[in-house]
Amino acid sequence: MPEQYRGEVVSVRRAGSYHVLTLTAGSIATQTRPGQFVALAIGGEESGLLLRRAFSIHGVQERGVFGGTVDVVVSPHGAGTRWLAQRHRGDAVNLVGPLGRPFSLPRDPVSCALVGGGYGSAPLFMLAEQLRARGCRVDMVLGAATEEKLFGVLEAKRMASTVTLTTDDGSLGQTGQVTDALAGVMDQHGTDVVYACGPMGMLAAVANMATARGVYSQCAVEESMACGIGVCMTCVLPVIGDDGTTRMVRSCIDGPVFRGDTVRWADVGTIPPDTLGASPVRESSEGAR
């Protein structure tokens, strides 16, 4: 069950373009499963930035000098993420978590490919650890625009049987995108399950590639959220249910991890006409709820 915790910063370290924050998190740390996230408040109790920012949990330490802690990876690009990146040891940060549905783990020791785009790779290392503990083979494919924007290369090398790196500019690994490398990895290692986390476009390509090959995929989406706890209805995307019906579901509660073949990737950002409750072209300028 998620909880709200008044945490504090244990450490901030740089990793390429990113900042890795370790925060005290009490029992959030002990409850966390790979793929879940925390929602962090920005700027203290009187902040003019009201909306929490969601970060997938990169790692946890269940008990230590500081009790439970969680690690999150921050890419400073807006007011909220910049504020987080500027925190120092001892600063207060309010957390809500763990939130969302985690990655499901296979019952059998199958061959898994883990694909991360940019700092989207953050939750994949906890996952890799748990997959390895179940006897699964783990191959990792990490991609980003530049070397600076790859996250977790050393960690990947320590955990995975193989690590394939791609950058758009060729500054490290193969020039190109993760999907260019993924086909080869899947063929070579007989991948049974693909796990992915990263930008929507990458997830769409990875999920479609897996589905086309009859391979099961699990994708953790990054949708913009206001609350993270399921009440605001801003983070929705079209997902096909077990009954074959498309619904607009909340990525914070029903996700962030979805089966790749259930998300209507091409329709994200729209209400497909066959969605449950889609309006027959009813446009208005009404803006309130």
């Binding site: 309010n94 209805m233 607009m248 950002g269 208005s284 803006g287």
Partner: protein, 345 residues
């Protein structure tokens, strides 16, 4: 501001500090706390119940429910703004049938007081919604969201015309048990909110919810187009609080006896106190929940403390207090300045 909580057994509200009677009555709806959730900011209570006991609230105000399931608007549906946010959800929801079976049943079983918010495209929609709710237990009040486009009037919002607003309220009143109070939720996007308030009260509203969001627009300067897929959205959060307090104040002056549920940017107990002093019998905490999921409970506690510090022994004594003439402000001398927290000044 937060103080250690003392819980005397005879306290009317088991989670106040025991010095102030926090119970309130809103058009006949008796509540142990004046703090409610706000429509659209608490779903149907279940998610928030993970963070605090929702039966401790005055009531849960549900997200506005429509006749049929609605998928809502495309994303992006939200943009952060200074001390607030703009949203355009498009009333996504399961429709009244699924709502009654799943959400209302859960709220009733959970023992939460429930204010069901309803929304429609036509007067007839509202009448049908009221008829359906009449057949079910657990509806403690109905909040009528009239900030919806009236399909029959080329999309003009019901809340912006006294006639349309009256027609909706009349239809709901006619189809609702007389023991169940009806609150009309008013839009601030009007020239004279008191004239709409008066129209709603004449049409049978037992109380007023003041205010709904303000219509706003954010342009994304990277994409150079509106940030929301729905183009315009409803502005909420502390940014709109002065507008909301002004609306409560004006309506209280125009209608001295009408029960008011005040809302708009309440983040702290002192924010809530402004609404109470301006004339509200109860308040809803909305957008703040996104920042602080247990915000409604905290606001209750802070409000209780703030009332005690000002020498009030009950919430009821503070309602409309700011309207009193100097000679009628009997309490003011009983407060020693030293008792007031510096933050509250």
């Amino acid at each position: 501001m937060t103080r250690a909580t003392v819980v005397p057994a005879e306290s009317p509200s088991p989670w106040s500090d025991g010095r102030v009677n926090m119970s309130t009555s809103l058009a006949g709806l008796e509540m142990p706390s004046p703090v409610l959730t706000a429509s659209g900011c608490a779903a149907a209570g279940r998610e928030l119940d993970q963070f605090f006991d929702i039966t401790r609230l005055g009531a849960v105000v549900t997200k506005s429910i429509t006749l049929e399931p609605r998928a809502g608007r495309p994303t992006p549906r939200m943009a952060e703004t200074p001390s607030g946010m703009l949203n355009s959800i498009g009333l996504q929801g399961p429709g009244i049938t699924a709502f009654v079976e799943r959400d209302l049943a859960w709220l009733t079983q959970r023992g939460a007081r429930t204010v069901v918010s309803i929304a429609g495209d036509t007067v007839e929609d509202y009448a049908k919604l009221a008829k359906t709710l009449r057949m079910h237990d657990g509806v403690d009040a109905i909040e009528v969201n009239i900030s919806c486009p009236n399909v029959a009037e080329r999309g003009q919002v019901f809340a912006c015309s006294p006639d349309s607003a009256s027609a909706v309220i009349q239809a709901v009143r006619r189809n609702t048990d007389s023991r169940v109070p009806i609150l009309a939720k008013l839009s601030p996007d009007v020239t004279d909110i008191t004239s709409i308030a008066v129209a709603c009260v004449r049409a049978g509203a037992d109380g007023l919810s003041v205010i709904n969001t303000l219509l706003g627009l954010v342009i994304d300067t990277e994409q150079m187009r509106p940030a929301l897929a729905g183009v315009t959205g409803g502005l909420s959060g502390p940014a709109i609080r002065p507008v909301a307090v002004r609306c409560v104040w004006q309506i209280r002056q125009a209608l001295p006896d009408i029960p008011i549920l005040g809302m708009g940017g309440i983040r702290t107990g002192l924010d809530a106190l402004q609404f109470i002093l301006a004339g509200a019998q109860a308040v809803s905490v909305g957008t703040t929940v996104f920042n602080d999921p247990s915000g409604p409970i905290r606001v209750h506690q802070e409000l209780s403390t703030a009332l005690a510090e000002r020498g009030f022994s009950s919430l009821a004594e503070a309602v409309s207090y700011a309207h009193r003439a100097p000679q009628d402000r009997g309490l003011s001398e009983s407060i020693a300045p030293a008792e007031i927290d510096e933050d509250s000044l």
